[in-house]
Symmetry: C2
Subunit: 198 residues, 2 copies
């Protein structure tokens, strides 16, 4: 017995979702087709819209629908401060603390040699170019306080200090081993205010 091809194709395509194997792909497909077709339709359109329209900001590397994102275009921002984060989620968390009015660079990852993620994958050359534009005075490293995030911060700090920039790191108000995305805004706010030169 064959599944109808529209169903087989959907089950196969669902495996693009992280952590979804053949059995859960089948369950998700049945669930959507049986109980939530409007949701499936909305999700299908959202996926195609996102893959067509989302690109990376030419300045800060975050997701944007324009060439340059709204944050980078915001003239109220302090162009002498550049905060380096791993992901757009981290950037959102920092913005919510209302403690930072500079600009950002989003690595879209962290150094992880065992996974083949090196300086190229975190857009290190673009970061150096961005940080040495003449306007930036201080680079605030806000990578996660995990082993990989710390190693990434250390690597970037060495490279940027050797180019004469002031480099700081969020204070260790963030628990060791913690990921920014899951820390409360108050803790991140204090860590931002207590950031220290490295």
């Amino acid at each position: 017995m064959k599944q109808p091809s529209a169903l087989a194709t959907l089950i196969d395509a669902l495996r693009a979702l992280p952590g979804v194997g053949p059995k859960s792909a089948q369950r998700i497909a049945y669930h959507l087709m049986q109980h939530d077709r409007p949701g499936a339709d909305k999700l299908g359109k959202a996926l195609l819209n996102a893959t067509s329209n989302l690109k990376h900001c030419l300045r800060c590397n975050t997701f944007t629908e324009a060439e340059i994102c709204e944050t980078c275009l915001d003239e109220q921002r302090d162009t002498s401060l550049l905060c380096v984060v791993e992901t757009p989620a981290d950037q959102v968390m920092l913005e919510q603390t209302l403690t930072y009015k500079g600009l950002y660079f989003v690595l879209m990852g962290r150094l992880s040699p065992l996974d083949g993620i090196g300086p190229k994958e975190i857009h290190f050359d673009r970061l150096v170019k961005r940080a040495t534009d003449g306007a930036v005075r201080e680079v605030v490293l806000a990578t996660n306080f995990t082993n990989e995030g710390e190693a990434t911060a250390h690597y970037i700090a060495q490279a940027l200090k050797s180019r004469g920039l002031t480099v700081s790191r969020l204070a260790r108000g963030v628990p060791v081993g913690g990921e920014l995305e899951y820390v409360d805004a108050g803790t991140i706010a204090r860590a931002m205010l207590d950031r220290r030169s490295v």
Copy 2:
């Protein structure tokens, strides 16, 4: 700071997936946009194709792209046997055992009064009509051996026996509490061969 609307819409739409909350929706969206745009595109198209083209077989209620599914149209099938299963996944498992050559009715669920799933939701009236077409002699109940699956089998058995049909149940080769989808084909094969009148 606002997320770009294509991204915000995607994160919101991903919550249609079972078990996906705001944080995991965000992670999935970032993952797809950063690491697997071809997969996201394929999934988007598969979802729209499935919602447009998948319907329920008018005879057996399983998913199909035609009015009547291929299994129901298969002239090699024994029309005197009708096997009742909860889901298309269970039907696929039974087919893999090669022990059954009759037809099917797919409930697309199981009775679960506490969740508001009653006879209407499992298409009970259509099942009765299908089972009393004059060709069907025996109805094989292959709902899961969970509490809800057993209650569903019991409910259907009472109704169909009162209409003069022979009703059987897969033998208890299937472990109590087990779900067909996760049982090996050999066990299901023995249970099919040992099915008993109820």
